[in-house]
């Protein structure tokens, strides 16, 4: 029983780490740049497909596909930011929603056209399969791997934002773009790179998550709520908020589906609505 609870908690944490790594980029675009980007899941999907294609068609080992998935999603994000997203930073939320739904539909259609509508399988290397046996408790190796990877990435990101020159430029630009530009910071470049970084992380998360979240063309629509929830509950400006929100969400979702299968996904939607009722303006202060 206790082992069972710990097992669910563990799975929930692994699931939450994945959500965090995918959604952290959204917390910057949505929370700091005020862009309602419903297409964030598309970047995760790109990473997922890059990973699967490299493994099945080119025989690249799983771990080697991860940086490529990151780079591919980041590149697509960069191109889209420079060509399209940039023009809509000051547009109304409705325009941003419609625009990003358009991107989602196009990406779903393209993924279906090229790769078919079915779930993509992923063959994890043998050293990531199986379980670690502890007294009274079995933990999945891959989930352990996920938690470790995300923990490491979080530390790297924290360092990047807090200690580097690029990090302080990002913080200055989102705090006050005009003043930052006045100080000689190329705000457009900073935003583009930040967007690319967020997209890349989503791509990495999508690749890491094939085994847990699955991968098919409807991926961007299926997980949109989870990403939005992580961001709106977690707040922005820090790494800690979205991380904690993602972990809580992961645990609640896994526990809900495990202990109350008859109501399934209902738990997470109810949680979302309740949180938004209790905190009507959202948990983070949206800049005017």
């Amino acid at each position: 029983m206790i082992g069972n609870v710990i097992g669910v908690l563990f799975d929930g944490l692994a699931y939450g780490s994945l959500l965090f790594i995918i959604a952290v980029g959204l917390s910057v675009t949505l929370g700091l740049m005020n862009f309602v980007n419903l297409a964030h899941g598309t970047f995760a999907m790109i990473g997922g497909y890059v990973c699967v294609l490299l493994m099945t068609r080119a025989g690249v080992p799983f771990l080697a596909t991860l940086p490529i998935a990151f780079a591919a999603a980041a590149l697509v994000g960069l191109v889209l930011e420079v060509t399209l997203y940039r023009r809509l930073y000051k547009a109304s939320p409705l325009d941003q929603v419609l625009f990003s739904i358009g991107i989602v539909f196009m990406s779903i259609a393209m993924a279906t056209y090229w790769f078919g509508a079915s779930q993509q399988p992923v063959a994890l290397p043998s050293y990531l399969r199986g379980q670690v046996h502890l007294p009274g408790l079995d933990l999945g190796v891959y989930r352990l791997f996920l938690i470790v990877v995300v923990a490491a990435l979080t530390l790297v990101l924290q360092y990047l934002l807090d200690r580097t020159r690029f990090g302080s430029q990002v913080r200055a630009s989102v705090d006050n773009a005009t003043a930052a530009a006045g100080l000689g910071i190329d705000v457009n470049r900073v935003f583009a790179l930040t967007f690319a970084l967020g997209s890349g992380l989503a791509g990495l998360g999508g690749a890491l998550g094939i085994d847990v979240l699955g991968l098919d063309p409807t991926f961007p629509l299926k997980y949109i709520v989870y990403f939005l929830l992580v961001v709106s509950v977690g707040g922005s400006g820090t790494m800690k908020g979205p991380l904690i929100a993602a972990l809580i969400l992961g645990v609640f979702d896994v526990a809900g589906k495990y202990y109350l299968p008859q109501i399934g996904g209902f738990v997470i939607y109810a949680l979302m609505v309740i949180l938004l009722i209790v905190f009507p303006a959202g948990l983070y202060a949206r800049r005017a």
């Binding site: 547009a91 409705l94 358009g102 259609a109 938004l276 303006a281 959202g282």
Partner: protein, 335 residues
Amino acid sequence: MATRSASVSISRASAVASTLPDDRWKLLEIVFWLLPVLAFFVFPNYRVLGSQILITGLFAVSLDLILGYAGIVSLGHAAFFGVGAYAAGLLAVHGWHEPITGLVVAAIVAAAVGYPVSFLVVRGSDLTRLMVTLGIGLMLWEVANKAAFVTGGVDGLAGVTIDPIFGVGRFDIGGRTAYVYALAVVFIVFVVLRRIVHSPFGLSLRGIREGAKRMPAIGAPVARRLRTIFTIAAAVAGIAGALIAQTTQFVGIDTLGFPRSAELLIMLVLGGAGRLYGGLVGAALFMIAQDYLSGIDPVYWQFWIGFFLVVIVLFAHGGILGGLDTLRTRLRPRQ
């Protein structure tokens, strides 16, 4: 240039229309309503599609009430459409086959769901509204999915049998009765809605859309106005849902789904929000294009609809009717 906001272009459009409510029927409107009557005789083979277009048009108009007039962006409007569809469907399945009362019940049930939701929606920023409506829509979908013993779950609710309307119009395979019935109901509801948006109440909604912070200063109860129109919009969406259930004699779980809410937004924006007719025009174009293009390949269809959405947002504000308005004001000085 592309960063100009929607509210700017909407305010320009309403400044063109008129500053005071004007309830007279214009010639163009009368011609517009003669088109579906004409279509009934000219395209007898497309009556089934035609009735679907009319019903979806009404659904889009209901979204226009809250989006175009009150400025509330909703990602879950299909929730009320689905609630209305299930209300009418369940009523018919359980032995009450009279259609008109079915519509009334569906409207009441949808309004009863919409009213409490409106309290949540009125509070909070645009983003919170987006997420609350999205969350409510997904919750209702999940409820309908899990309560399969009532709703039929993913298999849908079959066996919706409807009595002849007023004892004469029997529902037939060719969709004759369905078309006439849908057209009559849509027109009547539209006339009521047209009156509402042209009333001082409708004008105050536009005021709220343009400046929610200033409206209390002239004594308008902003939250109550928004709750009222949200509930009305929910009821109208419920009527549209009930019409679908009655004319197709089936309720699918997709009536509640997020894709339906998203497509609805697309139709409205395609036609032009904030002008009632935009929803009808958008629904007609969307569904005719869908009928034609998805006949070739459904994947192409989804790609192109996404593509057009991006193009509309970047280059064509106000949709088709908005574009026509701009064209008209540009041509006028030259004449």
